[in-house]
Each structure stands twice: as structure tokens, then as C-alpha cells.
Amino acid sequence: MAAGRFLDELIKRGISGFEVTVIGDERQGSYNRIMLSPVLAGETDVPAIIGKPSSWYRDQGIRFVSGVQVKAIERAQKCVLTTEGNRLRYDHLVLAVGSRPAKIPAENQQLDNIYSFRTLRDVDRLLNKARFHEMHGRKTDTDALVIGGGLLGLEAAYGLALKGLRVTLVHRSGWLLNRQLDPIAAGYLKRALEAKNIEFMLSDEVARFTGTHELKAAEFKSGKHLSCKLCVIATGITPNKELGLAAGLKGERGVAVNAFMATSDESISALGECVEFKGDTFGLVEPIWQQCTTLAERLCNNIKLPFENNPVPTKLKVSGVNLFSAGEFLTTDEHRELVYQDDKAGIYRKLLLRDNRIVGAVLIGDARDGQDYFSMLTEKKDVTEIAPFLLMGRAFYQTNEQPDSSDETEAA
């Protein structure tokens, strides 16, 4: 995904002077990974999410080597070695190798019908399995077990539930999306999902899977036991740092880059989920798009536009429920907390204030205005005057203040 975006940025700046080769593991061209959940849910289909089919590369004069992995980088020779044993020379190498699903410490993960949720291939296998699950005929406590109450896990659970499966989601924390939401907001989300036939086991973990070849059941740390037909593990991602680090590039959690996306080797740059910048790794699109711009500017125009890892709000439609989370999200005694609650409509909006400035926003059910709150947060705007109207949305607080520049910024 990051590679696809990076190509767009390159083309925008003109690549006539370059010879570009793209090597990719997956057979398809660049596709929008965020859209895997809608594909699983049947809300859209595979062709619709493929942004760059093979023909596109041809049309752009880009050499596209698909279905191939790079095994090693031979920095001294400025070569990469593919799994097929080919060596490809480079003048400048860009690593955009992404990440892979994080592992969980459960036993017997090698059993059949345990999937991750990362690639079109994962989705394809899940879809097949889901389509035929009835053929198994076996009575189980639940059809699908989904591990992980983060964004990915929720999306997977929702997609499977839409396919008609009985889904149970297991989450280690006491509440869903515990990196983005407070317990109350998570409660709203849970309620919305329960209404869509998803059951939850919170504060629990799978200790081991059971079965001989095929998955039969899962045993939990709490001692519970649940028979199931399939399992999706979606507990997070691990940067694919190994290729770079094996070649001697610096880095710990990922391949280390500076503000201009340069690795410790000046002929190699990196971006996306495989990198580490000032100790941080990346999983959301917004900063990665910025990395693409920074790198394209440097390589095409030799302009140094530093990448800044600014706070990024989480803005998503999780399983049909609009969500927004930015900045701090757990209320402490030091915050002034403003909360809007509409139980019936399933709407919860919380703003955390310090010194009458927004330092956090959590919205669920109705995520409009999130961007506005986020602007106020980054601008450290004093909201004393408009506080009573803030949570009702911009239609109300904007009529209660002088028009300011934030409006124009957004329109620009």
C-alpha cells in the first residue's frame, strides 16, 4: 500500500529520468488493505479495492516483478537477491516491505483453520471457509473465534458476522479498542456489535488451541473452553524489519530512518510499517502518506521536507459504527471532562480539557466534528466560551463564536 502511494508521488513529480522496478510478494498490484474488512463483509469486492492492476505498471513504464520476495540485500554490490535466485541492481533502494500479523503466545497455532487477517489471500481463504462452514455440520459453541479487540479484530469479527457466522471475539483488555477508547465508549461499541451477533470475552486470552489437524476448540486462561470452526488472529502487527537489519541497516523495532526517510545506508530509504522513526513504528495511513511525500520530494526534487510524527487521530467506521479518537482518551483527575451521552441513539462524545484546551477527544456513534476537535487540539485553542456547545457539533459552537481561521484551513 505504501509502495503504491509512493509510486503515485513519484509519478506526480515526473519519473522520466528514472527506471523504476517494483518487486512484490503478492500477485496483485497495490491494493487498499484498509478495504479488506469490507471485502470480507461482502460490502465491496476484490477488483474494487485494487488500485493498481498489472496493466497500470506497464502503462506507467514501471517494471513490476510480482509474486517474488527479496531474500537479501547485498549493499556492497547494490543488489537485491530474490527468492528465485535473481539479482537485481539498484541505484537507490526503497524498502516498503510492511509488517506481518503479530504472534500470540498460545499453543498449537499450527492447526488448520487458524488464520491471520492481513492480506487478500487471508481474506480469500476466510471467505471460502465461511462459505462452506455449514458443510462441517459439527455443532460448536461458536462458529468463528476472533482474537484481538483492536481495529483489525473488530473488522474481521464484523465481516464474519455479516456472512452469517456466529462470532466470538476474545480480547486481552477489559474493553475494546483500549488504545483508542475509554471504557464507556467501548461499552457503546460493544453494545452495537452485540446487536450484530458478536459475542465478547473480555479480559481473557487463548492459552491453547485443541484439535488434531483441524482446529476443534480453544482453551482460555480463565479456564473457559469454547469449541469453534475457525479462528482469526488479529492482535496487531510486527514490522518486517528482518530484511533490512540482516543487511546491516540500523534499527530495533523496525528499520531506522531519519526525518527524510533515509536509512543508515544513504542508497537505501525506507517507509511504511517496516520503519522505525525516533523509536516509533507506524500502523495508520496518515503518517505513512506523509513519508511517501517526504521521500518523493527528496528523490525527485532533492528538496528536504522533514517528516514529522504528529499526533494522528483514529477516524474509522468500525463495523458500521463511526469512531473518532485523538489525543488523550482516559479521563484523570487532572482533566475537565465534557461528555455527551445518548444511550438510545448509541452516541457518546467525550472531550478532555486541560486549562480549557482540548487534549483529547473520543467520539462514537457520530464522529462528525472529530476533525474540528482535532484542529482545536493541535492549535491549543481556548474553548472556554464555547464549551457548553462544543459537544453538539460545529453547527452550534460556530454560531457561538467569531468565525476563525480553522474553517478556512479546512476548506483550503
Partner: protein, 884 residues
Amino acid sequence: MNLPEKLIASDTVNTTCCYCGVGCGVTAAVADNQVVAVAGDNQHPANKGRLCIKGSSLHETQSSPDRLLSPMLHGKPVDWDTALDYGAAKFRDIIEQHGPDAVAFYLSGQLLTEDYYVANKLMKGFVGTANIDTNSRLCMASAVVAHKRAFGSDAVPGCYEDLEQTDVLIMVGSNTAYAHPVVYQRIAKAKEERPDMKIVVLDPRRTATCEIADIHLPLRPGTDAYFFNGLLTYLADHNGIDQDFVDTHTNGFDDSLAAARGQVPDITAAAHLCQLERADVEKVYQLFAQNDKVVTVFSQGVNQSSSGVDKGNALINCHLASGKIGKPGATPFSITGQPNAMGGREVGGLANQLAAHMGFDKPEDIHRVEQFWQAPNMARKEGLKAVDMFRAIEEGKIKAVWIMATNPAVTMPEAGRVRKALEKCDLVMVSDCIGNTDTAKLADLVLPATTWSEKHGTVTNSERCISLQKGFLNAPGEARHDWEIICQFAQKLGYGEHFSYSHQVDIFREHAALSGLDNNHSRGFNISALEEIDKKDYENFAPLRWPVTDQSPEGTDRLFTDGRFYTPDGRARFIPIEARLPVNTPAADQVILNTGRIRDQWHTMSRTGTAAKLLGHVDEPYIDIHPEDIERFGLIEGDLAVLANQGQRYFGRVKKSADQREGEVFVPMHWNGKYAASSCADALVNAVVDPICGQPEFKHSPVRISPFKQAWNGFLVCADDITPACEYWAKITLDGGYKFRLADGECPDNWASWVKNQFPHIDDWVDVCDSGQQFFRAAGFTGGRLQVVFSAATDKTSAREMRWLEQQLGQEIDANTRFAILAGIPGGGVEDEGAMVCSCYQVGQNTIAKAIKGGCASVEALGEKLKCGTNCGSCIPELKALLR
């Protein structure tokens, strides 16, 4: 005037308005036992087609949610027999054990003459006590005695035409613009047609009436009699005496002039005593002296005083001395407050009267009435007047009281004390059309009475004009006419044969007959020509000014045209007046409390308070106060302030008004426990009364004033009528419910539970909480329909009220509009974006559709313009779909 369409289309009926003493004729359109529209009756002499806003809203105030539909004994509905048996047995027991003076009736100027007549007859002739008084004691008692002292009878000499025909109109303590709007309109029109006509207003306040005045004299409160004593001196010194008239038709001039001159020897003294500019006083004295046609209108500003009778006589003295009486455009003119205060006075339904302009001072009068009524237990002495009556209840001397059509727990001076007295009284009976007035709430037995448009009988207005208040709607539930209730009660007491009237006309005939009995021009009230009126004529009663006798069968416009008065020698009496200041003077930290009416409310609001329209002008209790006093007492305009006296508090919003004199505040008299937590003006009024007539000094009570230190304020808009758990609340009727303004000295622990506890039946809530406790808002719904909106704030800026919000009450509200409900405003200015398409940049479907219409033809173009689809790209398929 043009009648509203509804009036032309439906059956119409002519009746009389039930509000003030002007007594306007009303044409009502009736359909399906409802009044659907009203207009002024073109033929009625009082208003000739005009109506004020209260009168023209009569059809909007007819169906009160609080209408009493059945007798209630200790809060439970009972049948009429049970109710009356209970009341009568109690009355009988108390009379047997403690004598007839242990019971009392307290009546009202809202009763019809026929109701009044039977109540008076029952008490004075059959129960055997004169403990029957009325709320007219609070408004007209001073004028009654002044009239009797000067004219020998309680009679207003002139008629409304005099107010139009005069050259100099002096209004003393009378804000006709608010209290008698149609009379005011007539005066304003006369002034417009004859701009030379001079209008003078004597009032400590610059009232709305001053709009048409040439001269306003803001005299020191209570100094009216000094002013008129000064005028009498001036008349004597400036050739203003009609010596012929004085010599031929009056007695006692010299003594009165001596008293006046001794106290107010000249203009300078008058100006000094009344705290007025000498030149202004002289100008008014000149106008009075140099014009033959002078009318002096007076009402509560004169009457509600510890020296009200003397004030009335001081001004009547001036008219007698200059012969300005009994002539077109020349008369003193007492204008009454209530629709039928006059009828009560004619009947004699007051403790110091007997019946039909007869009193207890003449044994032959008592004998005559006794014979006429065939009374077995004739009262022979005056009874207790209102203030003393409630004191006697407090002291346990009166053990049973029947209160009809009035609300003394609100309107009596020291109302808080009256409330306590009623709480411990053995038997409190109340008959009223509304079941939950502050007084009815204290009653053991509440009886449902008919009201305007149902009850049927005569009333008399300020100019002695009798007209029919017609019954043309069926009474709801078990409601009965007051006269019927009284007669049935009389029957339970064993006097049935003397109260066996079959129709109002029977009572009216008896009343007319008594008025003429042995009259011989000794008593002003005489309608003997009507003693055999047939039922048909009664039902079509054309308005008539009394006396109506064989000599004047068409009524009498003006009295005393021949210079003959109702005294034994036919001469009017001058009364020497030693003017006095009000009894209580304010301490350094006090202000003088003045009370009165506002334009759109009537009495204790039990009727007018139910119409949203009538709360549009003034919707909350307030305090008019001079700018200097605002400064002096540390008040803030628009904030709440508290007046305190008698251990009672009046909460009102501070209104800055240079129309007030410094050190004096004005508050409306209307608010009570049904409409506000603690804003009963009369509770602060000291029960100081005029020693002669017993009328309380409502216009002059020293009180303390301080800002209300509120911890929070807010408002509550709701469909149901509740009593908010709050130190200050004021209720405002809306078209679909109620609005409460709220304030309290302490914040509740939790606003959410504070409001939710008061609406336990609502479980669908949306709210906004602030952990900083600066504001809170909530809205409650039933079946998706808005039932409650609550907004609270610790500063006074953030709680806003919008008419739009009030209009949403009872409406179905979608999830999106719930934000607007809590904001209190429609989401004006920013368009509804429609369903969210681009979550990243919060771009909605409507916004996108608009951009497409505006020329964006591709996903890229939309992204360029709105940013949608340029972040995560999830919405691009939707954007494409919208582009197709």
C-alpha cells in the same frame, strides 16, 4: 369593528367580561360547547366594541388543566351530597358549640350579584353572623366609606362618558393603562380628538398611563390627602369655590377648609409635603380651579392605604367645594378593580354592611331586612373585616370558613400568616373552578363551581352599569353555580324553604325588591323597577345604570344632578381631613414596597396564567427599581434579587427603572405558589389597615432587598406541570407545556439525577455533563417525542432560551436533532451534511452532492475541493457511486 370570521360563522352570544371593573360587553362565538372566538360587543356602553388583551384572550383561557370537576373531601372525590353534608354538619356543630360568630364566609368580587345575595342572606339572616367579608375589602373599602360619608350612600356619581367629556382629567393612584385598559383607550381617544383636554397623573411611579399625560406628579407615596388639602386651600384662596353649591347642597365646608388650611396653608407647603416641584403643583391646582369640567379618577393608589377613606374624602371635598359633581365631565370617579365588586357592595356582602345600602347603624334597617327575609337568626352587629377575620381564624375564634372564588392565601397581606391560619382552621371550605389554587390546597373541602361562560347572572361595573354575564356553555363534570351550592348548603342547615330559588331571576327579583323597600331616596342603590322583571327580559338584560326606578326606568347616567344627596337632609357632607403618612416608614437599609397589576395578568393568574400569549408581555416576577438603588444595594440588572419582610421572601428579576422614585420598588401582585417558588408579593405586605374601613396598606411596606447569590441558574421546558426541587423557580405557560426559570443558592450533587428524579417515568435521556460543574444539559423523550429539556449553568451566560426549543416540545426528534435540542438552537448557519461518506475529513453526502452539482466530475476533483477520499481512500467507491 369587524368581527373575526369565526364570529360571523357561528352562533354568537352577548355576555360580560369576567376580568376588571370596566365591565366590557363581549360577543362570544360558540361551537360544540366551546367558545371559539370573542370580540367586543358594539352595543355595550362600557366598551362599544373594544376589548383589551385579557378580554380578547377569553377563549384561550377556558380549558384549564387544573379545572375542578368534582367535590373533593380531604383530597378525595366525593358526591355532592356527601360534600355538603360534611360541611353543613361541621358548620352546625361549631355554631352550636361556639355560636354563629365562630363561622365565616369570605367572598369575592368575581361572584355574580345573585351568588352574593344568597350568601349574604344566609349568613346575616339565618346563620346569624355578619362574619361575611370579601376581597373587595382589599380594593374598594376605602372608596365605599368615603362615598358613604360624603354622599350618604356608596355611589359613584358619574359615568364613563364623563372621562371623555371632561377638560381636565386627574388620575390619582390609578394605572388605567394596565388595570382598566378599555377605559384607558377611551380616554386616549378623547385626548386624541381634543388635544386641549388636559390629563394629569398623580402616582409615585411613572406608569404606562403617563404616556398620554400632560403632567405627571410623582408624589411621595401616601401624600395624596396632603395634595388635595392643599388644593382645597388653593381653591378658597383663588376664587375656586362654588359658594352657591356649597351653601345650598353641602354641610361642613368651613371645618374642612380650616383643617386643610391648618395642615397645608399654601402651594409651597403642598409641594414640600408631597415632594413635588412647586410649579407643577401650581399648574395642576390652576387647571382644577379654572376649569368647570374636571374629573378625578381614583383607585388602588388611594384606596390601599391606612388612610384611604380620608384620601377619598379629601379629593371629594375639592369636587364638592367647586361644585364639580353631578355634571357632564365633572365628578370624582372611583374606578373599581373587579368585575363585580360593585355588585357585592350593592348586595351588602361585606362585614360592615347589612344589605342593599343598609347598615347595622340603624335598627330600623335591621328590622326591615329581618322582616323581608323572614330571618330567624338576624345578625345585629358588624362582623369581622378581612384582616380581622383571618386573625380570628389564626386565634381559633373562627373555626370554620367558606372561601368562594378567591385566593386569600396569596392576596391577603401577611399572606404567609393567613396560610398558616388556614392550615390549623377546623374546617376550610373552598368553592372555585380551579382545584389547586394555593388556598384550595389548604382546604378540607373543595367544591367545583362554574366559571365564566357557564355561570349566569348580573354584574355591576365601575359606572353602576348592571349587565348580564351569560351562561351559554354546559358546565364540565359536577360543577355547579355558586348560588346553587349556597342554597343547597342552606337546605342542609335546615333553611331550605327560604332558599328555594329555581332560577337566578328569582334571586334578582328579591334583590331588586329589597333595594326599593322603604327607600324614598334614602339609599342610592335602588333597582325597584326591576323587581318584577320577567325571565325573558332578564335573559336579554340590556345594560342599565342604577338607580332603575319608576322615575328612571331606563337607568341613570349621573347622580346628584339636582344637588340632592342620600343623606337625611339631602346635603353632601364635607369631611375635615387631617392627612396622615403611611404607618410604617422604612429603615435606612429598607426600601418601600409598592404592589400592583401588570397588563396581561389577572389576580392570582389561575385563569390568565394558562394562556401562553398572556405571559408573553411579562413572564416572570420582577422588581422595578431605581438605578441609584441598584447601585446602592449591589444589585445587577437582570439578576435575581430578594425582598424580605414578615419572614417571607419575594424573588424577582431586577429591572432597572428610572420610572421609580429612589428608595421605592414596585412588584407585580400576581405571582403565587402555582407559578413561582417564592414570589408572593402580598406575603411581604404588613397587615396595617385603615382604621375606618379595614382596607390594608398594600402600597407601602418597608422591606429589605438584597441580591440573590445563586450557585446556578437554568431553565426547564417540559410537557408536564411539576414543582421543581429548587430554591427559585418561575413557571411560564407555553402552548404545549411549561417553561421554568430556575436558580438555587446551592448546586445539586448531580444535575443528571436532580432532573431525572423529577421525571421518573422518562427513561430515554440524552445529556451533556461537565465534570467542571460549569454547565449541564439534558433532554428526555417518551416514544421519541420530546418531553423535557433542562439546561443549567453556574454562570448566567450559557443557559439560553429559544422559542424554537419550546416549539419542539411533544415533537418527534431524530438523533441528529437531539444535538440541537441540547444546544437549544436549530443548527442554523451550518447545513446538514447528510450521511458521513469520508470519515477521515468528515465530509457528508449532501456536501459531496453539492460539489458534484457545482462541477466536480471526478474523485480527484472532489478530493481537490473537499479532501474527501484523499486519506485512507475507503470512501472512493462511494464517491464513484455518487458521481454516477
